[in-house]
């Protein structure tokens, strides 16, 4: 009975991890902007990888393999946000702007001649 419950729980975790990985990959392909793509890709690293590895740990039981899976999980949990942060910072530093900032900038450009005309008579 206990083994059955563990099996069902690990199946749920594996299926949920597969779902999150697929959704993150879809977002990585479909999102319009670099920063939104970063958001989608970080989803696969945290939820997808975490759920799949925990599901595998439940399948492995109290063995050395479970410890190795735990080490992989801890390492991914520490390094994935680090590399994502470095990537976003490098992109911001090199001049990539979010889509909303670019839209606001173009709106400001469209408004600029009108405000000049309003300012000129006064």
């Amino acid at each position: 009975m206990m083994n059955m419950a563990l099996d069902v729980l690990s199946w749920i975790l594996l299926l949920g991890g597969g779902f999150f990985v697929f959704v993150g990959g879809l977002g990585l392909f479909r999102m319009p902007d670099f920063y939104t793509r970063v958001h989608a890709a970080s989803l696969t690293d945290t939820m997808g990888a975490g759920m799949i590895l925990i599901g595998l740990m439940l399948q492995a039981g109290w063995t050395l393999n479970s410890g190795k899976l735990m080490m992989i999980l801890v390492f991914i949990f520490f390094t994935s946000p680090t590399s994502t942060h470095a990537l976003a910072k490098a992109a911001l530093f090199a001049g990539a702007r979010p889509l909303i900032a670019r839209r606001e900038k173009s709106k400001e450009k469209n408004k600029l001649p009108d405000s000049d005309k309003e300012d000129a008579p006064s």
Binding site: L14, V21, G25, L87
Partner: protein
């Protein structure tokens, strides 16, 4: 269940590969390659369980270690064009090694007028 998760990971790797080919900037490509590498780690672990050989976990562990160092090294190279440069820059200094070949012209204009990205994001001049 292993098969479903493996198939989801393979589909995600294909989508990330398409993004790496299509990606307009170099950072999109780095992001896609980084995603593929993380997915490879999980794929190796899953294949070990799928084929009944959990010894593959050692390979997955080594791959996770290499992946992080590689992505940080590539990012440092594309940020500074130099592996030996320190990460510190003066707050008001202009960026020493920009990449004008892929940036749109309005971004180059913004950066020339306003080298500090934080100031521009707040809307100040």
């Amino acid at each position: 269940m292993y098969t479903v998760a493996t198939l989801a990971i393979l589909v995600t790797m294909a989508l990330a590969l398409a993004r790496a080919v299509l990606g307009p900037t170099v950072f999109d490509r780095i992001l896609a390659v980084n995603t593929i590498a993380t997915k490879t780690t999980i794929l190796i672990a899953l294949l070990g369980f799928l084929t009944g050989r959990p010894d593959f976990l050692d390979i997955a562990l080594a791959y996770a270690l290499i992946n992080f160092i590689g992505s940080i090294a590539i990012l440092k190279f594309f940020k500074y064009r130099d592996f030996s440069r320190s990460g510190w820059l003066e707050p008001d200094a202009p960026h020493p090694h920009r990449m004008p070949n892929w940036m749109p012209p309005e971004v180059i204009e913004i950066l020339d007028n306003n080298p500090d990205p934080e100031k521009h994001r707040e809307g100040g001049k």
